[in-house]
């Protein structure tokens, strides 16, 4: 982490030295280029698709991945705070999982930095998310003949919890931006002006860079707390369980989301959250780690005011003095990073699931 903090200071020094002339250093940051193609195994991805929309892979068979990552919302959720598992709420915004396969760090606080297999496991087993005993999950899959066939077709042999954690990431690879104007080059004049601001006067590129428009690092931008985390006991107890499990001290008295502090336990990192990707924003409102900002206009307005209020706020955040047209242009550019909705049968499992688990016939004679 020391490295990341140092980077910030270096950037800050450079920024101060050049005053407002961000344009001059735009080249320092990788452009938002098209995402590389991913090699996808169709049979595995198809299996992952059926699993992603299947409620039977949560503890009480009440929610599927797709209940918090809804296709019509760019695979995020329209509420500020994710619904969480039945019986509790949640304390963070459900992010879009489009392009998740391209990330190197996951979760708003960046606590997962390995691979999507681990992310999948975390989502399935975390008690306030899907609360799934993966042994039950495996046996449910083995009880559904369609799965038995699909696992076989995918080369996994019989259904197992290990293969489930491979198949879902394979499906997530199929959820990548399609026909985003920034990739096709078909950007409006307004979006093009916005792009200039993005790289220049507005300084967004300093953190939102590279193909995903994120540097994958954590910053404090002063986003206000979402009080619903604490005022709604359903959300609050999920938060307490999380903070307790993560080993955050004084978790009963916390009145804010500690963010990246969770990783470093360094007070300086309190309130930092990982730079989100800006792709697929058009359908993934509301925004920020806690869903506190409802529209892209409001997001740009937030940065135009120099971010929120926090003594640990990144010092590069200053009022931007953007005009009305600038704001419109920036929003147009942000929207140009969104592609076609991925809501057709190509990405969404539209097939039925059996209402009951069919019985395995001749049970006493066949091997389990």
């Amino acid at each position: 982490m020391g490295v990341r903090v140092k980077t910030g200071h270096t950037l800050l020094a450079a920024t101060l030295g050049l005053g407002m002339a961000f344009g001059a250093q735009a080249g320092k940051y990788p452009d938002i280029t098209s995402l590389p193609d991913l090699k996808i195994n169709a049979a595995k991805a198809e299996l992952g698709k059926r699993l992603f929309f299947d409620r039977r892979i949560s503890g009480d068979a009440g929610i599927a991945c797709s209940d918090c990552h809804k296709p019509e919302n760019a695979y995020s959720h329209p509420d500020a705070l994710s619904p969480g598992y039945p019986g509790n709420g949640h304390f963070r915004n459900s992010p879009s999982v489009i392009n998740a396969a391209h990330k190197k760090v996951w979760m708003h606080d960046g606590r997962l930095g390995t691979n999507l297999n681990d992310v999948t496991r975390e989502m399935l087993t975390e008690d306030y998310i899907m609360n799934m005993d993966m042994r039950v999950m495996q046996e449910r899959a083995k009880q559904d003949p369609k799965y038995v066939q699909m696992f076989k077709d995918a080369g996994y042999g019989e259904p197992s919890n290990g293969s489930i954690r491979k198949a879902i990431p394979e499906y997530l690879k199929t959820l990548t931006s399609v026909n985003a104007p920034i990739d096709t080059g078909k950007m409006s004049a307004s979006a093009k002006r916005g792009q200039k601001l993005f790289k220049g006067k507005a300084g967004c590129i300093q953190c939102h860079n590279g193909p995903l428009a994120t540097d994958g690092k954590a910053y404090n931008t002063g986003v206000p707390e979402n009080f619903d985390i604490f005022l709604d006991p359903m959300n609050h107890h999920a938060f307490i369980a999380f903070a307790m499990f993560q080993g955050i001290e004084d978790y009963m008295n916390l009145k804010r989301d500690p963010g990246y502090y969770n990783i470093t336990m360094d007070a300086a990192d309190t309130g930092k959250f990982v730079t989100p990707s800006l792709r697929e924003l058009k359908y993934s409102a509301p925004y920020m780690h806690n869903g506190m900002i409802k529209s892209l206009y409001d997001v740009v307005g937030f940065y135009n005011r120099g971010g929120g209020k926090d003594s640990r706020k990144d010092s590069r955040l200053k009022p931007l003095k953007l005009g009305k047209q600038d704001i419109k242009d920036l929003v147009a550019f942000l929207e140009s990073m969104s592609g076609d909705p991925l809501t057709s049968g190509k990405h969404v499992w539209k097939g039925p699931y059996p209402a009951e688990y069919p019985v395995i016939e001749n049970w006493t004679q066949v091997k389990n």
């Binding site: 039945p86 019986g87 039950v136």
Partner: protein
């Protein structure tokens, strides 16, 4: 474990005693007189003296590290009925231990967590305070550990400690009650199990006709019941395992219970069946071929323990049908017929591990009248039905005020 290894020795002793007494399964006068037998609350069989005699139920044992207190008992009662002590806040203790279903669940398999079904019969809470072993394979050794195990089991409560503890902490009445009962600033989940155990230690029944009789009221059992008692202690041999004040030797036996046919007919039950093989640490081979509950084997991993289960206490059984670890018998008539046939059901089905079947189980040759008398006696081990209204559930409430949150935001 030592009990299991000793079983053949005990059995030999029992048989020797029986031979000396000249009558199978007879309670000897020596056993009645043995002071150790009277002292023994749990009634482990006496190595030298044959089965412990039936005895009136005394005060339940209270562990020194969890003494009773009114605050704890009242808290435990509310927690017992609170469905929030489970994964999705829908499944608490009383969900599978309903007071009006004998503090158990009136189906063969316990209902299980939503989206699942259990694979064993839910046992009554009444008098569980006396049992040194709990669950059908004896995997818990106290009410405290039973409560914890049930709340966490994948097809039972499916709750994790952190979320359940967090839930208790956003319920102000619980915060108060835990503070009063345990002196802690915030509820701690371990104390929830302790409070529930304290409540369960109040759910005892000591005034059954049998208890009254054993305490000297000779009119408490009628002639039929007395005849049943004689059969129980003699010809039917029940007392060999169902003995002592709690009517259980708390040992493990294979009595020949056949697998529940539901595993052949119900997809959901098949899922749980395999899950249990997996979760209980079966070998790969065992997982593939198991077609019945291997019982105590999952704990001991000894082949000779396959199909053995802890002797079920018989008290309160009037209200706890169905019977046996997998609930295959819905009436006492079926139970008695099963024993009378020497451990076979009406279709001739028995355990898949006949090699482990207890040699105590053999055809009894009971007449219809004798069966009726035996059932009458079994029912005399139950008193009045113990019903209880569910207490009001305390409500969630925010821990902080908006003003406090705004002040914290201001101070960021």
């Amino acid at each position: 474990m030592s009990n299991v290894i000793q079983t053949p020795t005990l059995l030999a002793a029992a048989i020797t005693t029986a031979l000396l007494a000249g009558c199978a399964g007879q309670t000897t006068s020596e056993a009645v007189a043995a002071p150790a037998a009277e002292k023994s609350m749990a009634a482990a069989p006496m190595a030298m003296a044959g089965p412990a005699p039936l005895a009136p139920l005394g005060e339940p044992p209270i562990p020194a590290d969890n003494l009773q207190s009114p605050a704890k008992i009242e808290l435990g009662k509310i927690l017992f009925f609170d469905p929030r002590l489970g994964g999705d806040a829908s499944t608490g203790c009383s969900t599978c231990h309903e007071p009006d279903q004998g503090w158990a669940w009136a189906e063969d398999f316990s209902r299980g967590y939503p989206g699942t079904v259990h694979w064993r019969n839910s046992q009554t809470i009444i008098n569980s305070a006396y049992f040194p072993r709990q669950f059908w394979a004896g995997s818990a050794s106290s009410n405290e550990s039973q409560a914890r195990g049930a709340a966490r089991g994948g097809v039972a409560g499916n709750g994790e400690a952190d979320i359940m503890e967090a839930r208790l902490r956003v319920i102000p009445e619980y915060v108060e009650r835990f503070r009063e009962a345990f002196g802690t600033q915030w509820p701690i989940i371990r104390d929830a199990w302790r409070a529930i155990a304290s409540f369960e230690r109040t759910l005892v029944q000591r005034d059954t006709p049998l208890d009254k009789y054993l305490l000297g009221d000779k009119s408490a059992l009628n002639a039929d019941e007395l005849k049943g008692k004689e059969l129980f202690e003699g010809k039917a041999g029940c007392i060999q395992c169902h003995n002592g004040a709690i009517t259980s030797d708390q040992d493990f036996h294979n009595i020949g219970i056949p697998p529940n046919k539901r595993w052949e007919e119900d997809g959901l039950a098949q899922i749980t069946f395999r899950f249990e093989q997996y979760a209980k640490g079966q070998t790969q081979e065992g997982y593939r071929k198991a077609k019945s509950d291997w019982g105590f084997y999952y704990r001991s991993k000894n082949a000779w323990d396959k199909g053995k289960f802890r002797t079920a206490p018989l008290r309160y059984l009037k209200y706890t049908a169905p019977y046996m670890h997998n609930g295959v018998f819905y009436t006492l008539e079926e139970v008695v017929d099963f024993y009378d046939r020497g451990g076979f059901d009406e279709d001739g089905r028995t355990t898949l591990f006949p090699e482990n079947k207890s040699s105590l189980i053999k055809p009894l040759g009971l007449t219809d009248d004798e069966k009726d008398a035996l059932i009458a006696f079994l029912e005399s081990m139950s008193g009045e039905e113990m019903l209880m209204d569910k207490p009001a559930m305390p409500e969630y409430a925010p821990l902080f005020t908006l003003a406090e949150l705004e002040a914290a935001q201001e101070a960021k």
